[in-house]
């Protein structure tokens, strides 16, 4: 993609790294937090090493901790050394030479005035041209405070350069709070300035969904109700809630995984071809999918939604405690750690095709994939030898071991007519020398470039919440159908999830 910087600077032409953003300052709220240390700064360093960070770049970290610039930098350096053990002092000094820190309360207007002055000074000294990105990496309860103060301090205005805001998930706790937050942020920033982040969209394989669907002619003609029996989207984790018990108790699996990650992946799998590879064209199509989700009602919520919570069990041969035994969790908690939904999209393309979504904690392994199961072929020719032909399945693995597998039937060599399913495999790790980039690296770069394609628009967020609210409301006001915990850690979730499959030939994939 040609960027303004490329047009201004002819020396950039033809360099493999030609997507270089304009000079800018990145302000991170919650700079002393885990995300900054583990994800954001390593992603910035990777961009720096690849010459993708603008030459004039400043980082200003803000949080409540009263530490100096040097202490802030030292903390980042120590964290970065974990992923970059070879990091030399001269490299670090050069990378971090324009890093600054500011201690201040998120609700203290003086902090924003001081920030405004600091940004002006940085622009002058470092040539960042008045371009600013504000990254909210704080708990969501301070989002509104930061946004309104940024507005009051005039920092959302785009007089000299661009002003963008990146908002981490969760975007709202329910439909009402998401609408409120959208309203609040839109009072200060225009939609084109807002970047709601979902790191799943930064993953290479998720982006490849679009390429695979729309850059090949063999898949799209069969990508509909005529050929597809059902689609399974799975995001499983082997970890428990860990240190996130406080957050998890009030959110649960639906808010944590479905409203954002799984619904976004489903939208990309199901959407119509956009008119252009451009942010709003793609987001328009995703929105149509989210709006086409057949609403859950009092009856279907029983038939199409299954919840679960893990109890004690074994993972990798080690005994692990149940969710209710985790620190910070109510011993009588009914927070679901597993959910499976059967979703119908009321569109011409997908009428009658169930999308089976599942996600859970303490499942046997960490994996995310989309499996498109095609309709079973009529077994007319081989029925004397083969009782059932297996349906073709296309599996798009998002993590780990990113790639695509196509399962199809083939004859076993020999005199008899024996048919067996084999896999045709494409793996990123084997076909391409270069490893896939970290999601945050891609998303930070896109935000600096002003490319919002991989970020979520406000109406998408609200449509996703709207689709999910009947299930959330039902689950929060009723007892689970079977007392929690209803699945053992290290297993694939509660047996009730099988009820969603409906047809005898449908099975949850064993991953």
């Amino acid at each position: 993609m040609a960027t303004p910087i490329l047009m201004e600077n002819p020396l950039r032409q033809g360099l493999f790294a030609d997507r270089v953003p304009a000079p800018c300052s990145l302000v991170i709220y919650g700079a002393s937090g885990d995300l900054t240390h583990r994800k954001l700064v390593p992603a910035l360093f990777d961009l720096y090493e690849k010459h993708l960070l603008p030459a004039s770049f400043s980082l200003i970290g803000i949080s409540r901790s009263k530490i100096s610039d040097e202490e802030f930098k030292q903390g980042l350096k120590v964290a970065l050394k974990e992923s970059e053990p070879q990091l030399s002092d001269s490299l670090w000094n050069s990378f971090s030479q324009n890093f600054h820190y500011m201690a201040g309360g998120y609700d203290d207007f003086k902090t924003y005035q001081a920030l405004s002055q600091m940004l002006d000074q940085v622009d002058q000294e470092n040539g960042t041209s008045g371009n600013r990105i504000f990254y909210l990496s704080t708990p969501p309860n301070v989002f509104e405070n930061i946004i309104s103060n940024l507005g009051a301090a005039g920092l959302a205005k785009e007089e000299k350069g661009f002003a963008r805001i990146v908002i981490e998930k969760p975007f709202g706790h329910d439909l009402e709070s998401a609408q409120e937050l959208n309203q609040k942020v839109k009072e200060v920033f225009k939609e084109r300035q807002i970047y709601r982040i979902d790191h799943y969209l930064g993953k290479e394989t998720v982006q490849n969904l679009l390429v695979m669907r729309f850059a090949n002619s063999i898949f799209e003609p069969i990508w509909d109700r005529r050929y597809v029996d059902h689609i399974q989207i799975t995001a499983s984790e082997d970890m428990g809630v860990g240190s996130r018990a406080g957050y998890y108790e009030s959110s649960g699996i639906l808010r944590d995984m479905f409203q954002n990650h799984l619904f976004q992946v489903m939208s990309l799998v199901a959407m119509e071809p956009p008119v252009a590879f451009e942010a709003n064209a793609i987001r328009d199509e995703k929105l149509k999918i989210l709006k086409s989700i057949r609403p859950f009602n009092e009856n279907t919520v029983y038939q199409w939604a299954v919840r679960g919570q893990y109890g004690p069990g074994y993972l990798s041969g080690e005994k692990v405690p149940g969710y209710r035994e985790a620190e910070g969790v109510n011993p009588k908690s009914n927070t679901p750690t597993y959910a499976a939904l059967k979703i119908f999209l009321d569109t011409w393309r997908w009428h009658g095709v169930p999308f089976l979504l599942r996600s859970g904690k303490r499942l046997p392994k960490r994996t995310t994939e989309v499996a498109i199961q095609f309709k079973q072929p009529p077994n007319l020719l081989f029925k004397t030898n083969v009782s059932d032909l297996s349906p073709n399945v296309m599996v798009i693995r998002i993590q780990p071991d990113e790639g695509i597998t196509l399962k199809f039937e083939t004859k076993v060599p020999g005199m008899s007519m024996e048919v067996r399913t084999v896999n045709m495999d494409f793996r990123y790790g084997t076909s391409f020398a270069e490893g896939t980039s970290e999601a945050y690296e891609r998303l930070l770069l896109d935000c600096m470039l002003g490319d919002a394609t991989l970020f979520i628009r406000g109406d998408e967020v609200e449509a996703a919440w709207a689709a999910l609210m009947p299930v959330l409301n039902h689950w929060e006001t009723t007892e689970p159908e079977r007392h929690f915990p209803n699945y053992e850690a290290g297993t694939w979730g509660p047996a009730e999830a099988d009820n969603l499959l409906e047809k005898p030939w449908r099975k949850w994939r064993r991953l």
Partner: protein, 367 residues
């Protein structure tokens, strides 16, 4: 018995048919082919090096690798072959990824005619990359036929015995003779990171200084040919629209001049003593402007041999500095970078055109 493509394919098929004992050792073996890479080594030593490089490359770009090299001994058969499987763990670590390497060892009287045999061994539908690791040949049938049939030919101008004559020839005949084949130069890839560092000094508001560049100074390792320095100067000229105004040159000069939209631009190539001649073919580059605010943009090797520092001074005030890692790239790494991108490198093409306007015209009867 004469060697045939069928014999080689049969041997390869045998190679991949794991016996029960082998199966217990290699579980989940996957053959992957993403490209064809053919290399032609002119002598035994070059063949040995190419072999090592191809083995390394196979893990980054699994494919069908074919190496052709001359026999060391005249008493050997006119043509011999070896097939080798190359397996490694992919990033997933669950399966072994495998591809194959075919080595053809031939006597001088047959080696140039092996192009048809090479075609029969290529994997269909995959790109064909042809790597010529040595000096640019004159009237070599193998080179000619492979260049016609390949998607891309890789040369390394740092290995050219007479770089001026060879570059001049490439500039003059490549497009007309091989219009459908891309030309890649590993030496040009070596220059790429210098280009990136120079380019990033002119991003954003610094871009305005580019038009005022009056002098380009490049320091290179004493005792080497300044081919890479020359590439950088011609690249700047191509990108900035400077035209060469002097007499065509038959050896690299210390000074030459281009005519830019704002007047004359002087290029100075200076040999300097360096610690490691292998690493420091380019030691430093400086661009001086003479606009309203005189500026100096430099990229210099840092004291840390693994780093370089880019720095700009406007009105004698430091505007920005940046130090980045800058490891010396070996041929395998250069090829690895080159093979990643299949699209034509238009900037290289334009630079080669500028090179063609500066260097003495070649004797095309020798091509």
């Amino acid at each position: 018995m004469a060697v045939s493509a069928q014999m080689i394919e049969k041997d390869l098929a045998e190679l991949w048919k794991s016996d029960p004992g082998e199966k217990t050792k290699i579980i989940g073996l996957q053959r992957v082919y993403t490209t064809n890479l053919v290399a032609y080594a002119s002598d035994h030593e070059e063949g040995y090096r190419a072999d090592l490089i191809m083995n390394d490359l196979a893990e980054k770009h699994p494919g069908r690798y074919i190496l052709i090299r001359p026999a060391a001994d005249k008493s050997e058969a006119p043509l011999r072959y070896y097939v080798l499987g190359h397996c490694f763990f992919g990033s997933g670590r669950e399966k072994k990824v495998c591809c194959d390497l075919i080595k053809l060892v031939a006597q001088n009287e047959v080696i140039e005619n092996l192009y048809g045999f090479t075609f029969s061994l290529l994997m269909p539908d995959l790109p064909v990359e042809f790597w010529w690791p040595g000096d640019l040949p004159y009237q070599n049938v193998y080179f000619d036929k492979m260049a016609e049939q390949s998607n891309r030919v890789w040369v390394d101008s740092s290995k050219f015995k007479d770089p001026i004559q060879s570059l001049s020839r490439l500039s003059a005949f490549w497009n007309s003779r091989y219009p459908h084949t891309l030309l890649g130069d590993l030496n040009w890839i070596r220059v790429q990171r210098w280009r990136a560092l120079i380019a990033e000094m002119f991003d954003g508001e610094w871009a305005k200084y580019l038009k005022d560049v009056k002098k380009v100074s490049i320091a290179y390792g004493k005792g080497t040919q300044p081919t890479r320095s020359f590439f950088l100067a011609c690249w700047l000229a191509a990108q900035m629209g400077w035209k060469y105004k002097g007499k065509r040159i038959s050896e690299f000069p210390e000074k030459f001049e281009f005519e830019g939209p704002q007047g004359e631009v002087e290029v100075v190539l200076t040999p300097v003593p360096v610690r490691d001649i292998k690493l420091d073919r380019i030691f430093a580059i400086g661009l001086t402007t003479d606009g309203n605010q005189p500026a100096l943009f430099t990229v210099i090797r840092d004291e840390d041999p693994h780093c370089v520092t880019a720095r700009s001074e406007i009105n004698q005030r430091v505007a920005f500095t940046r130090t980045v890692t800058f490891e010396h790239l070996q041929s395998n790494e250069l090829l690895n970078v080159g093979l990643k991108h299949m699209e034509p490198d238009f900037i290289w093409k334009q630079t080669l055109q500028v090179i063609g306007t500066v260097l003495e015209k070649p004797d095309l009867t020798l091509v």
